[in-house]
């Protein structure tokens, strides 16, 4: 591990430095830190819920009137423990890794390229899993739990920041043309627009599907 330094790094992109508050390293890593802490808290709540459910099958088994926003229905579905144990356990194991990366980076640590590439690969799998669960909850189970929604949102933010960092620092071993195209996307803040639009679409989907239950 080396101390953060813009000068000594040979893989730094040429071109004017990225300016503005959203490109500041504190903004980037703090966003990732806050999102991963939120995910960890949500995973913890869901894990406790799952244990309570396992202890006493009657708890939360009854169908809640506000079932759209109830974890009981979601927690007792097979999708809630795809690998034979509650999915929330995965969050308990993986989110601390993200938190550690964010804190270390804030403290000035620069991770090797292969390390960040591996983090990107694993987190992309995590993101795909989170969205598969979101889709299942919406269209198969027909219920939505606020903690699961928080995890979906936080996972999206962490993925966004991690991808941003990895493109900025050229960590992904991409072909030069792709790399420079992605760098110009970051320079023109298109990535930020993309994530805002993405999150708004998420909100729209939830309101369209559950609006009546949410507001009525």
């Amino acid at each position: 591990m080396t101390v953060h330094s813009a000068v000594a790094d040979p893989r730094r992109e040429v071109g004017p430095p990225l300016r503005g508050i959203r490109h500041h390293r504190v903004t980037v890593w703090v966003t990732m830190l806050v999102a991963s802490v939120a995910s960890l808290v949500a995973s913890f709540v869901l894990a406790v819920e799952a244990l309570r459910l396992a202890e006493n099958p009657n708890a939360d088994f009854a169908c809640d009137i506000n079932a759209v926003l109830s974890c009981g229905t979601v927690a007792s579905s097979w999708q809630a423990s795809v690998f034979g144990f509650p999915n929330a356990f995965l969050g308990l194991v993986t989110e601390p890794v993200v938190i550690t990366i964010a804190v270390a980076a804030l403290a000035g640590v620069r991770f090797p390229r292969w390390f960040m590439l591996a983090a990107q690969v694993f987190y992309t799998v995590g993101l795909a899993f989170a969205y598969w669960l979101f889709h299942q909850a919406m269209f198969e189970i027909g219920a939505l739990c606020p903690w699961c929604l928080l995890i979906t949102l936080a996972t999206t933010l962490v993925f966004f920041e991690m991808t941003y960092v990895n493109i900025r620092d050229d960590n992904l071993y991409l072909p030069r043309r792709v790399q420079s195209a992605l760098t110009s996307v970051i320079r023109s803040n298109l990535d930020l627009v993309l994530v805002v639009v993405w999150i708004l679409l998420l909100v729209l989907a939830v309101v369209l599907r559950y609006g009546e239950a949410l507001f009525a």
Partner: protein, 253 residues
């Protein structure tokens, strides 16, 4: 600096200036387009939320409420002797898996207690799980069917009720189709002329209004079971505890 070098510097500056202008123009276009997209999405969200709010009011106040005949004074579906010492009131939704578990744990015992005159069951079907049947409104369709059955063939309502749970579909599926519900009713002994009236959907308004009344009376989930008006808070999903509570209530009188 030679004149040539000065010219070259000026040309270079010109090229840089043009490039900077182009980049600025590109940024402006991106900012405008993304601004429009984001505003459009916000409007869509607001509109969806607004529609949901006004849509919710309509379901809360159905225009046409026709209650089936043969209900109790309190508007429930009665099963068993009117003068039985204990009354058990059950709020349920035909789509609710927990209600299915309740029925399979307690159905036989309730049957026995109804038969020997210990208990009168009051069924209160509600339809709050309509959204979990992919838009086919299974909860409303079945609640309307049981209401039609009690209107035309009150003696068969209990058997029909139990058969519906015996054939309960999984939550989140389309549920049983209308033909299957009709078959189940006929197998349970509901006469064909009554079964034919399921399709009239006469009591759907009533179902919506009793669902709202259940919410308003403080029911927070299904199954909710009341023994003589007091909510039973024991184990609903194991055979025994409910029957014991009913029997001790009967003995206490």
């Amino acid at each position: 600096m030679s004149k040539q070098a000065r010219v070259r510097t000026r040309e270079l500056r010109e090229v840089q200036r043009v490039a900077a202008e182009q980049q600025a123009r590109r940024k402006l276009i991106i900012a405008r387009v993304s601004g429009v997209v984001i505003v459009a999405l916000l409007v869509a969200i607001g509109f969806a939320a607004f529609t949901a709010v006004s849509g919710g009011d309509e379901t809360a106040a159905p225009d046409r409420v026709v209650a089936p005949a043969n209900l109790t004074e309190g508007g429930a579906i009665p099963v068993g002797e009117a003068d039985a010492p204990v009354t058990v009131e059950i709020f349920f939704d035909y789509m609710c898996p927990a209600c299915g578990a309740f029925e399979s744990a307690n159905g036989e015992e309730l049957d026995r207690l109804v038969e020997d005159g210990t208990v009168r069951v009051e069924l209160r079907p509600i339809s709050f799980l309509d959204r979990t049947s992919n838009g086919t409104e299974y909860s409303t369709r079945t609640a309307n069917a049981i209401a039609t059955a009690v209107d035309g063939a009150p003696e068969q309502a209990w058997a029909f009720h139990r058969s519906l749970y015996a054939a309960q579909p999984e939550e989140g599926t389309d549920g049983l189709d209308d033909e299957r519900i009709a078959e189940i009713a006929q197998e349970a002994g509901v006469p064909a002329d009554v079964v034919d009236r399921f399709g009239d959907r006469t009591y759907e308004g009533w179902v919506a209004s009793v669902t709202q009344e259940a919410f308003d009376s403080g029911v927070t989930g299904t199954p909710t079971v009341m023994i003589d008006g007091e909510e039973f808070d024991g184990d609903l999903f194991t055979e025994g505890p409910l029957a014991q509570a009913i029997e001790s209530a009967a003995a206490g009188q």
